[in-house]
Structures are given as structure tokens and as C-alpha cells.
């Protein structure tokens, strides 16, 4: 009995001391909402690994941010909105920023985080109109929004059709969720503007069975297909498109439908498939070298290290880098390394990732420069088109980074955000 009590006592003391030590050295808390299990794990894991490796590298190479170590507790959401909200509630105390990694979770967190004074950063996803910083003080979605993405895809199609797509048919195959429905409004406006016919084809979670959708496409023969998919939906869609012999260079996915996972199961059939992106593919950037040196070579890679340099891993690096940079900016603005969540928000709003700064951070030519401001939380709005080379098994950038139709997008953002402001009785700021 005594031995048992002694053991319990020792265990409790060790836990208490270790958590004290951890809290003492890890001053900046960046909670991670991840999905390493469930149907969407194949996408969630490389992305989360990118985040963790970057944080570990900053802690090892720079001793943290301005001397403050990064603490990055993980909370498993399984890509479930309700669980994501619970993760937020559990981890919100002293949290600098939340990256929900799900548009559904982001929508739920917008009012909560606004009330709690916690920054939410939904990198290239979430509620598009959150780009309007005048209304959404605590929410950021830089560097590019779904509405930019929709208009960039249409712009790419326009370019390939000598500027005229009147009478053409464009189909949108989308995940039947808040995420998948985001581009619909923009595409409807663009279809009126350019005279193309829009076909909407929803696919229910998880998207394992899409035969009827692709039979419809085969019959309707759209000139182009756009896709807002995630998880298995992407793989089945790419494979189905190849199976009905839809020309793959006329099939364009959003940046969440353009990872190696999405195309490899289709083999050679996926050759030529396109997807938008706001960061470059590959593993030969300075940041990769640093991660290799300070993390992987020391046997501390997140997971088995096999996702290094993949599309979603690189996106995780980019997302983590912006979050760390926001903390650095906040420390400069407020003249202290021990920043509060409110100070962090100021940092995020003043992030200025110029080409020079990106190079300093090891991200030269990895992504286009962007800056946030009080009015603009949506970044540059730039994205490029990448194309899958099935023989070499790699993505290649085939266009420059380009803007979408800002006339259309900005108008829609203003409409949607002012509607939200009226509903929530939010007074516009930055005036």
C-alpha cells in the first residue's frame, strides 16, 4: 500500500514539475486543431507535420520567437465542427492564434473568438468576407480567399479561350459543406458577367461514391470543371474524370484539391490535372534546409518525416511562418517579447511579408509577398496554377501568380461583410 502511495506521489510530482517547466519555458501558445485520424487524416497529417516541424525549427534555431519558446498543443478535431469548437474552448486561454483547418469550424469560431479576443487565422479558407478587417477585427484569411480563387480559375479559363467564354459551360463539383459552397456566389456573378453557364454539382461527405455526378458531367459535357473538394472526394473525382476521359487540363481544383494524395491513386490518368496554389511545390528552399538541419537530422521530425516537401506539408510551413511572423511583429510594435493575445492580433494585422522579408525567413520564391492592414485581412489575393506531371510524379507551376477579378470579389466581400456587421451590430473600424 505504501509503495503504491509512494508511486502515485512521485508520478504526481513529476507531472506537476514537468508541466511547470513546460509552461515556464513555453511562453507563446499556438494551439493546433488537427485531424490526424478519421476520413480526412491523409490531408490533415502532412499539414500538421509542416506546422510542428516549423515550430520545432524556430525553437531550436532561434530559441523561440524573440526568446519566447513556442508551445503548440494539439487537439484532434477529426475535421468535425463540434469537436473543433470544443478544442477551441479547451485551449483558448492565453492562446495567441487558432488555425481551425476547416471552414465549418472557422464559421463557428468567428463570433466566439471575436467575443473572447482571440485571433483566428484561416489561411486561404474559412469565411471569405472575413478579409474585410473593418468588420472582422479578429479574423484573418490571407493571403488569398475562395472568391479570389474562383475568379482566378475563371481568369485562367478566359486566358485559354482568348478572353471569350460566352456560351461555355463550367461545372463546379463541390463538397456539400460550408467549405464547398463558398465559391458559388462568386461563380454565379462571374457567369453573368462573362456569359458562361454554371452547373452546380454537390457531393456529400465523404465523397467515396460519385458515379452519378460524373455521369451527369459526361452527358452535359461542360467545357471546364472546377472542384472544391477535400479528402477522398478529390481522389475519386480525379479518378472518375480520367475514367470518363474528361480532358484533365480542363479540370481545375482549388488549392485544397491539389496535393499529391489527390492525384497519385489515379496514376497516369491524373496527368495534366490542374490546381490553384498560393505556395510553391518542392523541398529545396532555405526553410527546408533549416528544418532538416535542426529537426529531422536530430530525429525530431513530426511523424515519420515522409511528408517533407509535399504540397500540404509546405502549406503547413507557410501557415506556421505567417503565425510566427505575426508574433515577431507584435513584439516589435509593443516592445516586449511577452505579448498578450490582443498584442498578437496587432502583429497579425501588421504583417508585411515583402520579398525581402520572405527571403530572410527562408521562403524566397516560395510564395508571393503580401501584407495585412486594418482594412485588409485577406492578403494579396494572388494564386498561381500548378499542373500534375504523372510521369515525374510532381507538381509544376505553369502560370505566374495572378489576381482574380477584384471588382467582383471586393463588391461581394463588402456586401457580405456589411450584412454580417448589421446582423451582429458591429461598428466598422479603421475609419
Amino acid at each position: 500500500m505504501r509503495i503504491k502511495q509512494l508511486l502515485i506521489g512521485i508520478t504526481a510530482s513529476v507531472i506537476a514539475v514537468s508541466s511547470y517547466v513546460e509552461m515556464a519555458i513555453a511562453d507563446l501558445k499556438f494551439p493546433m486543431l488537427v485531424y490526424r485520424t478519421g476520413a480526412y487524416a491523409p490531408n490533415g497529417i502532412p499539414n500538421a507535420d509542416g506546422f510542428v516541424d516549423y515550430y520545432k525549427m524556430i525553437n531550436a534555431r532561434d530559441g523561440g520567437i524573440g526568446g519566447e519558446k513556442i508551445l503548440h498543443p494539439e487537439c484532434e478535431t477529426g475535421y468535425k465542427t463540434q469537436v473543433g469548437v470544443e478544442c477551441y474552448e479547451k485551449n483558448k486561454k492565453d492562446a495567441m492564434v487558432f488555425q481551425p483547418m476547416s471552414t465549418g469550424i472557422t464559421y463557428q469560431l468567428i463570433p466566439k473568438a471575436t467575443a473572447d479576443g482571440v485571433t483566428v487565422y484561416s489561411t486561404g479558407y474559412g469565411r471569405t468576407s472575413a478579409a474585410n478587417g473593418k468588420v472582422f477585427k479578429w479574423i484573418f484569411n490571407a493571403p488569398v480567399t475562395y472568391w479570389d480563387g474562383a475568379s482566378i480559375a475563371v481568369r485562367h479559363i478566359l486566358k485559354n479561350n482568348f478572353g471569350n467564354i460566352k456560351g461555355k459551360k463550367i461545372a463546379l463539383v463541390y463538397h456539400n459543406s460550408a467549405y464547398g459552397k463558398e465559391p458559388i456566389r462568386t461563380l454565379q456573378v462571374l457567369s453573368k458577367k462573362h456569359g458562361f453557364k454554371l452547373m452546380l454539382l454537390p457531393v456529400d461527405h465523404p465523397g467515396q461514391e460519385q458515379k452519378a455526378t460524373w455521369l451527369k458531367i459526361r452527358k452535359a459535357r461542360p467545357d471546364n470543371v472546377l472542384m472544391w473538394g477535400w479528402g477522398v472526394m478529390n481522389q475519386v473525382a480525379v479518378k472518375s474524370a480520367a475514367s470518363i476521359k474528361f480532358p484533365m487540363d480542363k479540370f481545375i481544383g482549388i488549392w485544397w484539391s491539389g496535393s499529391e494524395n489527390d492525384v497519385l491513386p489515379a496514376g497516369q490518368g491524373a496527368h495534366g490535372y490542374k490546381a490553384l496554389t498560393f505556395n510553391a511545390p518542392g523541398d529545396n528552399y532555405q526553410v527546408h534546409k533549416d528544418i532538416k538541419k535542426y529537426v529531422h537530422d536530430k530525429g525530431q521530425a513530426s511523424g515519420d518525416g515522409s511528408h517533407f516537401g509535399t504540397v500540404l506539408y509546405n502549406r503547413g510551413l507557410f501557415q506556421a511562418m505567417v503565425q510566427v511572423e505575426a508574433a515577431t511583429v507584435a513584439q516589435k510594435i509593443h516592445g516586449t517579447s511577452k505579448i498578450t493575445p490582443a498584442m498578437y492580433r496587432d502583429g497579425m494585422e501588421n504583417v508585411n511579408l515583402s520579398a525581402k522579408r520572405l527571403e530572410e525567413l527562408g521562403f524566397k520564391d516560395f510564395a508571393p509577398p503580401f501584407k495585412n492592414s486594418c482594412e485588409n485581412h485577406g492578403g494579396s489575393g494572388l494564386a498561381a496554377v500548378q499542373q500534375w506531371d504523372a510521369k515525374a510524379k510532381k507538381w509544376n507551376l505553369i502560370t505566374e501568380y495572378m489576381y482574380g477579378d477584384s471588382d467582383v470579389v471586393q463588391k461581394l466581400i463588402a456586401e457580405d461583410s456589411s450584412k454580417y456587421a448589421a446582423e451582429q451590430k458591429i461598428a466598422e473600424r479603421c475609419n
Binding site: P42, I45, D204, E209, K211, L215, V232, Q235, S243, D304
Partner: protein
Amino acid sequence: MSVELLNFIETVLNGLMSGVMYSLVALGFVLIFKASGVFNFAQGVFALFAALTLVGYQTGQVPFAHLINELFGTNYHNWYASMPNFLAIFLTMVTMIALAWIIERLVLKHLVNQDPIILFMATIGLAFALEGVGDLMWGSDVKVLDVGIPSGGSIWLEEATIGLAAEGSDYYGMYVDVLNIWATVIAVILVVSLALFSQYTKTGRALRAVADDHQAALSVGISLRSIWILVWAISGFIAMVAGIMWGTESGVQFSLSLIALKALPVLILGGFTSIPGAIIGGLLIGVGEKLAEIYIGGYFETGALENWFAYVMALVFLLFRPQGLFGDKIIERV
């Protein structure tokens, strides 16, 4: 023939083919339910586990590599480059038989004579546990499964049917995926083999005896436990076939376990105790959902009928024929 009629036939044909894929999953449920009265919620995870194991053997992946490396600081991932398909399939079959034995030893043996709901709950637990073990063993990456089954639209069918449309009409042949044709052939072979096995072998007859009446089977000296292991092993084999078909179509990934949900309406329609019922139920569900999506889907703003229409059909059937088309008639004696 008009293009509309040809398109309708194409939809029906594709529905039938999809239905066969659902039937492959439903068959495993029926076998276990017939022999042991257990509704095996883990059947979808069986398919996932079998497919993961098959790819693991094919590619020489070290099982539990992540765990081993984490614990011992090693860096093992693969122990050979590749394995021939037939050997990988054989080893997967052996693994599924071993799994059936483990389940009987660790779970079923301890739950004999318990209420069906207890056994059902146990299979829910089994599903989650097996999914976790699969993740630990083989990782959660999307895996490419290629056992040499061709896939893609059938060019032969396209060319054979292109001339059926009226002259001058805008039609370019009928579409059916070759993978689905293979699935149909394999399903037919499976059902015929199962029928022959249960009709003409001693073990098969014992299996039918257990399915008819546990007590009576025990009284004539049939070992219930051996039959259970056998049935779970056969359903593991069927799960492997389903896993190969579905995994070839979408890559092997954890959402594969959700195909079990597609089998539920099939079982409601066909009955939980009938092998032909699982096939006919699958075909009806496949055709029903494809026709609904293509011909009614446009009237719904949100669309995506394909996923839930099967449950509407199942619900209607439940109201009028709760035992399903081929299920044992429900007789209540006062």
C-alpha cells in the same frame, strides 16, 4: 434509339454496377448475421483493414513502423521493395483468418448467450479498435492499390453502342467502368462459390445448421466456436475482396470504412439473412440512387441525393416489409 433512352439505360447499368460494389460489403454482414446473429458493425473496417494490409504486404511496409521507430529510435520503414500480388493476397487472407481467430478468442467467446444488442455494441467497439490498430500498423496515408485489375471506361462498350443512337444525334457511346465489370464477375463467382460451399460440403452444412438453430446444431456435436471462426474468416475474405475493389477505385484510405454505411440500406432491402437478398438489395439501391440523382437531383437546390436516397428507399421498405425482400418471415406466436 433516342439518346435519352440510351442515357437512361446507361444510368441503370451504372447503378447495377455500383450496386454490386455495395453487395460485396453487404455479403460479409449477411454471413456473420446468419451464423451468429451478430450484426457486425465492423464489416466496413474489415474491408479497410484488409486493403491496408494488402498494400502493406505489397510494398514491404514494416507493420507498426512508426511505433517501433518512436520507441527504439530506429528508422525502419520498408523491409523489401515489393511482393508479387498473389503472395500478398494470400498473406492478407491468412491475416484475416488470424484476425477472425483473435476476435473469437478475445471478444465472442466471452459474450456467448448475451443479448444481440450487447454483441452489436461489441462490434462497434471492435470497429474503432481495429481502425486504430490499422492506423498504428500501416499509417494513415492514402495508398495506391493495384492488383492488376484494369479500370477506366470500357472502350469496347463505347464503340459497340455508339451506333445505337439515331443518325446525326450527339452521342458518343455508353459508359461503364471496367473495374465495375470485374467487380460483377468476382461477385458472381463469390456467390456461386458460397452457395456450392454451403450446399455440398460438410462444413457448409454445419454452417447452415448453426444458422438455422444454434441449440440444435450444438446437440448434434457441431462446434459453435469453430463455425464462428470460420464464418468470421469467410467474411474477412469477402471484406478483402470489397477492400480491393473499393481501394482500387479511390485509393486505400480511412474513409473506406464508411462504405459499411452503404451496405445498411442494402441489408434492409434484401434482408439480413439472405445472400441473394444482399445481391438483389445492392442492385436495387444502386439503380435507385443513380436514377434519383440524375433524374430528380436537379429539382433539389442542394442536390447530392446519391448519398441519402438509398436510406429513403430502405425506410419505405421497412414500413411495408420489415424483414426485407428475402429475409426470414417474422412469425410471432402467442
